[in-house]
C-alpha cells in the first residue's frame, strides 16, 4: 500500500492565491472524489500535485509514500507514480501515439533493462480496444484532430498503460456521452485494486453512478470543507452548493474564487 499525503497545501499562480490549506490523505486501493463549485481550486490542486511549473506552493507539503515530492518536477513525479489525466489534453502534431507511448514507457525502464517491443505493441493494442479506440490510433499524431471523447479515452489509455500509484482525473467525465463514460469507468475498474488510488475531480454526480468512490470531498475557496461518503453526492445533487457556501462562508476566499464569482461562474 502507498500513500499520497497533502498537508496544509497553499498555492498561487501569478500572485493569485488559489489553494488555502488543503489536507488530504489517500491510500492505494481507495477512490476519492473531489467536487466543488467553479473556481474552488479543483484543477489547481490537480496541476500542483502533478508539478505544474506555473504554480507556486507557498506553504505545505506533499508526501508520496512518506517522501516529500514538492521539489520534484513533473517528470520525476510521473515516474514515481503520479498521473494526471488532463481536462483538456493538448495536441502534439507530428508525434505518433505509438512512438510517444513507447518513449514514455522507456523512461521508466531501470538501468540495463530493455523494452520488449512486441509485448508493448500487443498490450497497447489491447488497451486501445479496451478504451474504445481503434488500433489505427497508434499511427495517428498525439491528440491531433481527436474529438473530445477520443482525447479523454486516450488519457485513460495512457493511465492504464502507465499503471500509476495515484491517478488524478481532472474532469475526465466532462463532455462524454454515456457510452464513453462507461468506458472510462471500466478503464478505472481495470486498475482498481491495492496498487492504485485515484482522485476523481468532477462537477457531476453521474460518473459516480459508474465508479463508486470510497470518499467524497468538497472543495470550496481553496480548502476541503466537507468529507464523507456517497451521501455528500446525493446532497449536492438535491440542493446544489448553496448549503456549502452558507456553512463555510467564513472560509478565506481564494483569488480564483473571487474572479469566478465576479465572472458569474458561481
Amino acid at each position: 500500500m502507498k500513500t499520497l499525503e497533502i498537508q496544509n497545501l497553499h498555492a498561487e499562480i501569478e500572485g493569485k492565491k488559489i489553494l488555502n490549506g488543503i489536507n488530504l490523505t489517500m491510500k492505494t486501493g481507495e477512490i476519492h472524489a473531489l467536487m466543488g463549485p467553479n473556481g474552488s481550486g479543483k484543477s489547481t490542486l490537480a496541476n500542483v500535485l502533478a508539478g505544474h511549473p506555473d504554480y507556486t506552493v507557498t506553504e505545505g507539503k506533499i508526501f508520496l509514500d512518506g517522501e516529500d515530492i514538492l521539489e520534484d518536477d513533473a517528470s520525476k513525479r510521473s515516474v514515481k507514480g503520479i498521473f494526471l489525466a488532463f481536462q483538456a489534453p493538448v495536441e502534439i502534431p507530428g508525434i505518433t501515439i505509438g512512438k510517444y507511448l513507447k518513449r514514455i514507457m522507456e523512461v521508466r525502464l531501470k538501468e540495463g533493462e530493455r523494452m520488449d517491443v512486441a509485448a508493448f505493441i500487443k498490450e497497447l493494442r489491447s488497451i486501445l480496444t479496451m478504451v474504445g479506440l481503434s488500433k489505427d490510433f497508434i499511427n495517428r499524431y498525439l491528440n491531433e484532430g481527436f474529438s473530445g471523447g477520443e482525447k479523454k479515452r486516450m488519457e485513460l489509455a495512457q493511465m492504464i498503460l502507465l499503471k500509476p500509484s495515484f491517478a488524478i482525473l481532472d474532469e475526465l467525465d466532462s463532455g462524454l456521452d454515456i457510452d464513453a463514460l462507461r468506458s472510462v469507468a471500466a478503464g478505472i475498474d481495470t486498475l482498481r485494486g491495492e496498487n492504485f488510488g485515484s482522485l476523481i475531480i468532477t462537477h457531476y454526480q453521474r460518473i459516480m453512478d459508474y465508479i463508486k468512490p470510497d470518499f467524497v470531498h468538497i472543495l470550496y475557496q481553496g480548502k476541503i470543507v466537507e468529507s464523507g461518503g456517497r451521501d455528500l453526492v446525493d446532497r449536492l445533487e438535491e440542493t446544489g452548493y448553496g448549503w456549502v457556501k452558507d456553512m463555510h462562508e467564513n472560509v478565506e476566499e481564494s483569488d480564483e474564487y473571487k474572479y469566478a464569482a465576479a465572472a458569474g461562474g458561481i
Binding site: 502533478a50 511549473p53 513533473a74 517528470s75 510521473s78 502534439i92 507530428g94 508525434i95 523512461v107 521508466r108
Partner: protein
C-alpha cells in the same frame, strides 16, 4: 549549329551578363533581408571559380539503396554507379561538354532565362561542366538517384550544376546532397528539371555546409501536363544559405508540392524563396516550409503564388511555420499572392512562436524530461514535413538535424 555550339552560346551570354552585373543588393526585393556585402561575397569570389565536375566515369554494378549513385569529389572527378536495371533502362548521365547526349538547348535556355542576377548567371558561365541526367520516356526508376557533391578545399568558389531531363511518363526520386566540409567555401549551385507530361518526379536538395561557408542554390523546375511533383529542400550549417526554387506548372492538371525544413543556430542565416507559377488550368500546388531558429540564427521565407491569366481552377497554398527558441532568434515570413485569374483558390498562412509550454507540461507530466519534451515537440513540428517525404529523402536529411534537436535546452 552543333550541340556544343548551342550550349556555348548560352555560356557566352552568361559570361557577358556575369561580368557586367553586380552582386544582388538590398535594393532588390528578394535580397532586401540578405545583404551579400555583409557576407563579404567579394572575398569569396576573388579567385577563379572551380567547376564541381571536370570528369565523369560511369560503371554498372550491384548497389543496394539506389539505382544510380553519383559521387563527386573535391578534385572534380565524378563517378557514377548504375544498377543493372538503371543501365538497361536507358537512363544516361553525362557532362554537357561530353557531347554524349544532345545538349537540351530548350531546357538550358529556359533555365537561364529564369536567372535575374549575378548569382544566377554564375553557373551558366561553366555550362560544359554541368551534369545532365536524362531519363527516357516511360522509364520508372524503382530506387532513388543520389548525387553527392563534396567540396573540401578551403577558400574556394565552386560552381555545381545539374540538369535533369525527364521524358513522358517517367518516374524517379532524385536526391542532391551538397557538402562543403572545408572553410570559407562558396558553393553556387543550379539545378534544373524539365519534366515532360505525366511524369512523377520527386526531388530533394540537401546541403550540409561548414559555418564559414556560403551556399546559393537556384532550382528551376518545369512540369508538363498531368504530372505530379514533390520537392524537398533542407539547408544545414553555413554562414549564409540562399535558396530559390521556382516551379512552373506549365500545362493542365499538374500537382506540385514543395516542402522544406531549416534549423538555424549560432549566427546562421537562411533565406529561402519559393515561387509557384500557375500558367495553366487546374493546377494544384502547395508549399510548406518549417524552420526552427535558435540563438542569433535568422530565417527568411519569401513565398509567392503567381497565377497567370490562363491559370483558371488553380488551387494553391503557401504555409510557413517557425519556432523561435529564444528572444535573439528571428524568423521573417513574407508570403505573397499575384493572381490574374478570378477562378482560383489561393491562400497563405504563417505562424511564428515559441514552444508551447502546455505541450511541454503535458509531456513532462508523463515522465519525459524538460529537454526531451522540447526535443520531441520540435521533432513533431518537423515530422509534419518528414512524414510526407519519400523515406530516402528523410534518411539523408533527418540525421543532419537530429543531433541539433537533442541539444535543445
Amino acid at each position: 549549329m552543333d550541340n556544343i555550339q548551342t550550349y556555348k552560346d548560352i555560356q557566352n551570354e552568361a559570361l557577358q551578363k556575369f561580368n557586367t552585373s553586380s552582386w544582388p543588393s538590398q535594393e532588390e526585393e528578394e535580397w532586401r533581408r540578405t545583404n551579400l556585402s555583409k557576407f563579404s561575397i567579394d572575398t569569396y569570389t576573388s579567385g577563379e571559380p572551380n567547376p564541381a565536375v571536370t570528369s565523369l566515369v560511369t560503371t554498372t554494378g550491384e548497389i543496394n539503396d539506389y539505382d544510380i549513385d553519383v559521387s563527386i569529389n573535391a578534385d572534380g572527378k565524378a563517378s557514377a554507379l548504375f544498377s543493372p536495371q538503371a543501365s538497361e533502362s536507358g537512363v544516361r548521365l553525362s557532362l554537357l561538354s561530353g557531347n554524349e547526349l544532345p545538349a537540351p538547348y530548350d531546357m538550358i535556355r529556359w533555365s537561364f532565362d529564369k536567372m535575374d542576377n549575378k548569382t544566377g548567371y554564375y553557373n551558366f558561365t561553366r555550362l560544359g561542366n554541368a551534369l545532365l541526367l536524362d531519363i527516357p520516356g516511360n522509364v520508372q526508376l524503382l530506387k532513388p538517384v543520389r548525387v553527392q557533391y563534396t567540396a573540401d578545399k578551403s577558400d574556394s568558389t565552386v560552381l555545381y550544376s545539374l540538369f535533369i531531363n525527364a521524358g513522358k511518363n517517367s518516374e524517379a526520386e532524385i536526391i542532391e546532397k551538397v557538402t562543403a566540409a572545408g572553410e570559407r567555401i562558396y558553393v553556387n549551385s543550379t539545378s534544373t528539371l524539365f519534366a515532360d507530361m505525366r511524369t512523377r518526379i520527386k526531388t530533394a536538395f540537401i546541403s550540409d555546409v561548414s559555418d564559414s561557408s556560403i551556399i546559393i542554390a537556384h532550382r528551376n523546375i518545369r512540369l508538363g501536363e498531368e504530372s505530379t511533383f514533390l520537392d524537398f529542400q533542407n539547408f544545414n550549417g553555413s554562414k549564409l544559405s540562399k535558396g530559390r526554387t521556382e516551379v512552373d506548372l506549365a500545362d493542365d492538371n499538374i500537382t506540385a508540392n514543395l516542402y522544406g525544413t531549416v534549423y538555424a543556430e549560432g549566427t546562421e542565416h537562411f533565406d529561402i524563396r519559393t515561387i509557384q507559377n500557375h500558367h495553366a488550368h487546374n493546377g494544384k500546388s502547395k508549399a510548406l516550409l518549417k524552420s526552427i531558429v535558435k540563438e542569433k540564427g535568422r530565417t527568411i521565407f519569401q513565398g509567392l503564388i503567381n497565377v497567370g491569366e490562363h491559370g483558371a481552377l488553380t488551387d494553391a497554398y503557401l504555409t510557413n511555420n517557425n519556432i523561435i527558441l529564444n528572444d535573439s532568434a528571428r524568423a521573417d515570413s513574407i508570403p505573397a499572392l499575384k493572381i490574374q485569374n478570378n477562378d482560383v483558390k489561393c491562400s497563405h498562412g504563417s505562424t511564428t512562436g515559441k514552444i508551447d509550454p502546455h505541450q511541454v507540461f503535458y509531456l513532462t507530466s508523463r515522465g519525459l524530461s524538460h529537454e526531451e519534451a522540447k526535443s520531441l515537440i520540435l521533432e513533431g513540428f518537423l515530422n509534419q514535413v518528414y512524414d510526407v517525404l519519400p523515406e530516402s529523402f528523410t534518411n539523408v536529411s533527418l540525421p543532419l538535424i537530429e543531433n541539433k534537436l537533442s541539444q535543445v535546452s
